[in-house]
C-alpha cells in the first residue's frame, strides 16, 4: 500500500497561505512526488533565548527556541525567499506531540526530550535555565522535528507544518481541531488492557519488547552515570600527581626539569576528562531518546487494544441480540430474565407483541452487524498501518543504534589516543631524568 495521506485529517490552511494552490510549496512538493518534508526542506532549531514574562505580579522566565526552515529544492516554487523563522517554547512542542499522538494513533510518534534531566553524572539538580541543559534540549528538539519531518504522514500534516512556519495563531489552530475529544479515555485503555478476549500476538510481543528495551537502556544509563562519576574522580586525582612532581622537582637538581615537565602532563591528563564526559552525555541523550520510544511503542499497542475492545464489545452486543431473538422465536423465555418475570406476573406476550419484539430485535441485529463490520474493518486497517509503521520504526532503529554505538566506540578510541599521547610524553620526560 502506498504511503497514503490520512483522509480524515483536517486540512487547515495557514493564515498567510498563498491564494492559489500553485503558489503553495506544500502542494508543489506533493505534486513533485516528494514523500516527506526533509527531501526538500531544511529545518533547524537554532539559538535558544531567555524570555521573561510578568503576569499578575509573577515573573515567569522560560526559554524559547528559534525554528528556521529553508527550501532546499530549487524546483519547488514558493512565495518569498523560501525561508521562515519563528520562536517556540517547550510547552508548544508538547502540544504538537499530543496532537500528533492522538491524530495518528498507528504511528510510532517520536518522543520529546525529558522534562527534567535524569541520569546525568554528578547528580546535579537540573536548572532548566542552565546553558548546558538548554543546549542538550535544543539538540533533542531538533532531532524530534527532523524525525517528524522525515515521516511520510506526519510531515504532511498541516498542524505540523504550521508549527514550523505559522508564527501567529498556531495554538488556536491546534485547539480548533478539537483533537482532544478524539483521545481515548484512560479508563477505556485500562479496561482494554485487562479484558481482551483475543489479543494479537504481534502487539503482545511488541509490548514485551518495548518493556525490555526500556529496562535495558534504563540500566545502561544508570550505570554509565556512576561510571562517569568515578572516571572524573580518577582523572582529577592525577592533578595531585602534577602538584607533587613539581614540589619534588623543587628539592632536586638534575631531576628537577624532567619532573616539572612530567607534572605538567599530569595536569593535562587531569583536564582531559572534561571534554570526554561532555561527549559521553551525547551518547546518553541518544540512548534516552530510544528509551522514550518505548512509550511510543506501547501507545500504539494500547490503541490497538482499545479498537479490539470496541470490536469485541460490538461482537458481544451482536451475539446477545442474536440469542435474544433466538429465544423469542422459539417461544422460550428464561425464568430469570426480565421478560420471564414479566410473563410470569402478567402473562406471556401475545403473538402480535412477540412479532413486534422480533422485528425490533431484527433492526437492532442489523445495526449491530453493521457496527461489527465497521469495527472489524477499523481494527484491521489499524493493524495494517500500525504494523507498517512499526516496521519502519524498526528499520530506523537498527540504523540509528548502529550509528550511536559506532559513535561511542569512536569516542572511546579518541580518548585512548589522547591517553597514549599524554603518557608517552610523560615517559619521554621521565627518560630525561
Amino acid at each position: 500500500m502506498a504511503d497514503d495521506e490520512q483522509a480524515d485529517v483536517p486540512r487547515y490552511l495557514p493564515e498567510n497561505s498563498p491564494g492559489s494552490p500553485d503558489e503553495d510549496p506544500i502542494e508543489n512538493a506533493r505534486r513533485a512526488g516528494k514523500k516527506n518534508l526533509l527531501q526538500w526542506m531544511e529545518i533547524s532549531v537554532a539559538e535558544p533565548e531567555k524570555r521573561t514574562v510578568t503576569s499578575l505580579k509573577v515573573q515567569d522566565t522560560y526559554i524559547v527556541y528559534l525554528i528556521e526552515t529553508r527550501i532546499t529544492d530549487n524546483s519547488i516554487q514558493s512565495p518569498g525567499d523560501g525561508t521562515t523563522s519563528l520562536w517556540r517554547r517547550y510547552s508548544e512542542f508538547e502540544l504538537l506531540r499530543n496532537y500528533l499522538d492522538i491524530m495518528y494513533p498507528h504511528v510510532v510518534v517520536p518522543p520529546l526530550p525529558e522534562k527534567k534531566a535524569s541520569y546525568i553524572w554528578q547528580n546535579a539538580p537540573t536548572d532548566k535555565l542552565d546553558p548546558e541543559f538548554v543546549e542538550r534540549r535544543r539538540a533533542a528538539l531538533e532531532i524530534f522535528l527532523l524525525r517528524c519531518a522525515a515521516h511520510p504522514q506526519l510531515s504532511q500534516d498541516r498542524i505540523f507544518i504550521g508549527f514550523l512556519q505559522k508564527a501567529e495563531g498556531w495554538k488556536d489552530m491546534v485547539y480548533g481541531t478539537e483533537f482532544q475529544s478524539k483521545a481515548e479515555s484512560k479508563l477505556k485503555a485500562l479496561s482494554a488492557s485487562f479484558r481482551l478476549k483475543k489479543s494479537d500476538r504481534k502487539f503482545d510481543e511488541l509490548k514485551n519488547y518495548s518493556n525490555e528495551m526500556e529496562s535495558n537502556i534504563n540500566n545502561l544509563l544508570k550505570i554509565r552515570a556512576r561510571m562517569a562519576d568515578k572516571l572524573y574522580g580518577i582523572h582529577k586525582i592525577h592533578a595531585n600527581y602534577g602538584r607533587v612532581y613539581c614540589e619534588w622537582a623543587g628539592i632536586e637538581k638534575e631531576m628537577a626539569s624532567p619532573l616539572q615537565s612530567a607534572g605538567h602532563y599530569m595536569n593535562v591528563y587531569s583536564q582531559s576528562v572534561d571534554s570526554q564526559l561532555e561527549e559521553e552525555e551525547q551518547y546518553a541523550d541518544q540512548l534516552k531518546e530510544y528509551m522514550a520510544f518505548a512509550e511510543s511503542l506501547r501507545s500504539v499497542c494500547k490503541k490497538f487494544e482499545c479498537l479490539q475492545y470496541d470490536l469485541e464489545r460490538a461482537e458481544e452486543n451482536l451475539s446477545t441480540k442474536s440469542s435474544q431473538k433466538e429465544m423469542l422465536a422459539q417461544g422460550k423465555t428464561g425464568t430469570f430474565s426480565l421478560s420471564g418475570m414479566k410473563s410470569k406476573l402478567f402473562g406471556s406476550d401475545t403473538p402480535e407483541q412477540r412479532a413486534e419484539k422480533i422485528k425490533q430485535l431484527d433492526e437492532q441485529i442489523k445495526q449491530a452487524e453493521i457496527e461489527v463490520e465497521r469495527a472489524s474493518q477499523e481494527t484491521q486497517d489499524y493493524v495494517d498501518s500500525a504494523l507498517r509503521d512499526i516496521d519502519r520504526f524498526k528499520r530506523q532503529k537498527v540504523k540509528d543504534l548502529k550509528e550511536i554505538f559506532t559513535n561511542y566506540a569512536v569516542m572511546q578510541i579518541k580518548q585512548c589516543k589522547k591517553g597514549i599521547a599524554i603518557w608517552t610524553s610523560a615517559k619521554d620526560c621521565f627518560q630525561k631524568m
Partner: protein
C-alpha cells in the same frame, strides 16, 4: 665446583635429625623424601633450571641484574630467584635461592648457591647496621603486606623477590659493606654452618639502647655542620613527597577499582539487551565484548600499579628511614666528640685555676697536708685527665671525620642510584598506562568492525584517523597552556 659440593652435602645430611620433617635449610633440597615441597613457578626470570643448564643461564641472568652499568670493576654478582614453600608441623615459610658469582680472593670458590628465608635477610641487615653504624644499609621490604594477605601467593612472592634482589645487589655494589664477613657467610654458608654462625653475636638489646641514645643526641645537637642539616631537611622533604605519592597512588587505585566494579556490570547489560534484538544482536554483543576487554585491561593496570609503583615507593620511604638512622648515629658520634672537647677545655680551665689558686683552705690542708703538695697533686691529676681527654678527643675526631666521609660518600652513591631507580619506576608507570590505552584502543576498533559488519565506511575511518592528529595537537596545546600558566 660449588654444585658438586652441594650434591655431596645433600647426601651426607639426609640423616641430620630423627624427625620426619627435614628442614631444607638444614638438610638441603631433597625432592624425593620431603613430599611437601612445592615449587612455585613465576615467569621467565624465575624458572627453576635443571642442573645441567644452570651455569650458563645463571650467567645470562646475572648480567641482567647489573645495576651499576658503567662500573666495569664489578666483581660480585648476586641473583635471587626460585621461591619455594616449605611446610612443617610447626610453620610454613618460603625460601629463595641465592646464587653468587665472584672473582674476589676472599671467597674460596667463584660460584655459590644457597637457600635463604626472609628472617635470614633480617639477621644480615641487623648485623650490618650494628657493624657499620656510619654506613647506609639498604632497607628490606616489610615483613607483612597489608594488601596481599596471602604470603604464599605468586604475586606477593614476585614482589618480595624483586625487593630482596635489590637489597642484595645494593650490598654487593657497596665498596665497604660487600666485604663484610657476615655478608660472605650469608652468601656462601651451607644451612647448618649458617645456623651456627647466626647464633653468635650481639643481641637486640644493644641495638635499642643505641637508637635511644642516638635520638637524644640529635635533639641536643647545636653545631651540626650545615651540610648535614641540609641533608636532613632534604631527606625529610623527599620522604614526605614519597609519602604523598603513595597516598595518591592508593586513592587512584581505589577509584579505579570502584570504576571497574561499575563497568563490569555494564557489559552484561548489552548482552542481555542483545537477547531481545535480532539485527542489533551482533552490534550489542560487540559493545559488550569491548567493555569486557576494557575491564580486563584496567584490572591488570591496577594490579601492576600496586606491585611496580606503590611497593617500590614504600621501599624508598624505608630507605629514608635508614638514612635518618645513620644521620642520627653520625650526630651521636659528633656529640661525643663535642662533649669531650668541652670536657677537655673545662679541665684545662681548671688547671689554670689551680695554678693560681691558694690551697690553704682546701680539704687536703684540713687533713694536715701541705697546701703546696695539695696544689701539686691536683695539678698532676688534672694533667693526667687532660692527657687522656686529648687522646680521646683525637680518637673521636677521627671517628667523626670517618663517619662524615662514609655518610657523604654513601649519600652520593645513593643519590645516583635513586635517580636511576626513580627514572625506571616512573618510565615503567607511564609505559603501563600507554599499554592499557593501547589494549582499550584495539578493543574498540574491533567493536566498530563488528558493529558495522565487515566494511568500515571510509567516513568513520577518516574520523578515527583525524582524531589521532587532533589528540596529538590538543595535547601539545594544553601542555603549552599549562606550562605558561
Amino acid at each position: 665446583m660449588a654444585e658438586t659440593d652441594g650434591q655431596n652435602a645433600l647426601e651426607s645430611n639426609t640423616t641430620s635429625n630423627g624427625s620426619d620433617f627435614k628442614d631444607p635449610l638444614i638438610s638441603g633440597l631433597d625432592h624425593t623424601e620431603d613430599g611437601e615441597l612445592e615449587s612455585l613457578s613465576l615467569d621467565a626470570s624465575g624458572h627453576s633450571y635443571t642442573t645441567v643448564s644452570r651455569s650458563s643461564s645463571l650467567i645470562a641472568n646475572l648480567s641482567r641484574y647489573d645495576d651499576l652499568g658503567d662500573d666495569d670493576t664489578k666483581d660480585l654478582f648476586v641473583l635471587v630467584d626460585d621461591p619455594e614453600k616449605h611446610t612443617s608441623t610447626m610453620e610454613s615459610y618460603v625460601t629463595f635461592r641465592i646464587s653468587t658469582k665472584t672473582t674476589r680472593s676472599e671467597f674460596d670458590d667463584s660460584e655459590y648457591h644457597v637457600r635463604r628465608r626472609y628472617n635470614d635477610f633480617l639477621w644480615l641487615r641487623q648485623r650490618l647496621e650494628e657493624g657499620y653504624p656510619t654506613h647506609l644499609v639498604p632497607p628490606l621490604p616489610e615483613k607483612h603486606s597489608l594488601r596481599r594477605l596471602d604470603r604464599f601467593s605468586p604475586e606477593f612472592l614476585r614482589v618480595r623477590q624483586t625487593a630482596l634482589q635489590k637489597f642484595l645487589t645494593r650490598l654487593a655494589d657497596h665498596p665497604v659493606l660487600s666485604f663484610d664477613k657476615n655478608f660472605q657467610v650469608f652468601l656462601t654458608a651451607k644451612a647448618w654452618e649458617f645456623n651456627a654462625h647466626k647464633k653468635q653475636g650481639s643481641g637486640i638489646i644493644s641495638r635499642m639502647t643505641d637508637s635511644i641514645h642516638n635520638m637524644s643526641a640529635s635533639y641536643m645537637m647545636k653545631n651540626r655542620s650545615p651540610e648535614f642539616t641540609i641533608l636532613y631537611e632534604y631527606v625529610q622533604s623527599f620522604a614526605e613527597k614519597l609519602g604523598v605519592l603513595d597516598r595518591i597512588a592508593q586513592r587512584v587505585s581505589k577509584e579505579q577499582s570502584d570504576y571497574l566494579l561499575e563497568m563490569c556490570e555494564w557489559g552484561p547489560i548489552y548482552t542481555l539487551w542483545s537477547n531481545s534484538e535480532d539485527q542489533l544482536s551482533n552490534p550489542l554483543l560487540a559493545m559488550s565484548h569491548a567493555v569486557d576487554l576494557s575491564c580486563q585491561a584496567l584490572q591488570e593496570l591496577v594490579e601492576a600499579t600496586e606491585d611496580n609503583f606503590i611497593q617500590p615507593i614504600r621501599e624508598y620511604i624505608l630507605y629514608t628511614d635508614a638514612i635518618k638512622a645513620v644521620l642520627r648515629k653520625r650526630d651521636a658520634i659528633q656529640m661525643e666528640y663535642d662533649t669531650t672537647i668541652a670536657e677537655l677545655n673545662k679541665q684545662k680551665d681548671n688547671k689554670e685555676k689551680v695554678k693560681i689558686s691558694d690551697q690553704t683552705y682546701s680539704i687536703g690542708a684540713f687533713l694536715g697536708k701541705d697546701p703546696e703538695d695539695v696544689k701539686q697533686h691536683k695539678q698532676e691529676k688534672l694533667e693526667e685527665q687532660i692527657e687522656n681527654l686529648t687522646k680521646q678527643m683525637e680518637q673521636l675526631n677521627d671517628r667523626t671525620v670517618i663517619a662524615d666521609t662514609d655518610l657523604r660518600v654513601d649519600m652520593e652513591r645513593w643519590h645516583k642510584n635513586m635517580r636511576k631507580d626513580m627514572k625506571e619506576l616512573l618510565m615503567d608507570t607511564a609505559d603501563r598506562q600507554v599499554q592499557y590505552y593501547e589494549k582499550c584502543l584495539k578493543a574498540w576498533e574491533n567493536a566498530i568492525r563488528n558493529i558495522q559488519g565487515k566494511e568500515v565506511s571510509p567516513e568513520i575511518q577518516g574520523q578515527v584517523d583525524m582524531d589521532t592528529k587532533d589528540s596529538q595537537e590538543s595535547i601539545q596545546e594544553s601542555s603549552d597552556k599549562s606550562s605558561s600558566s
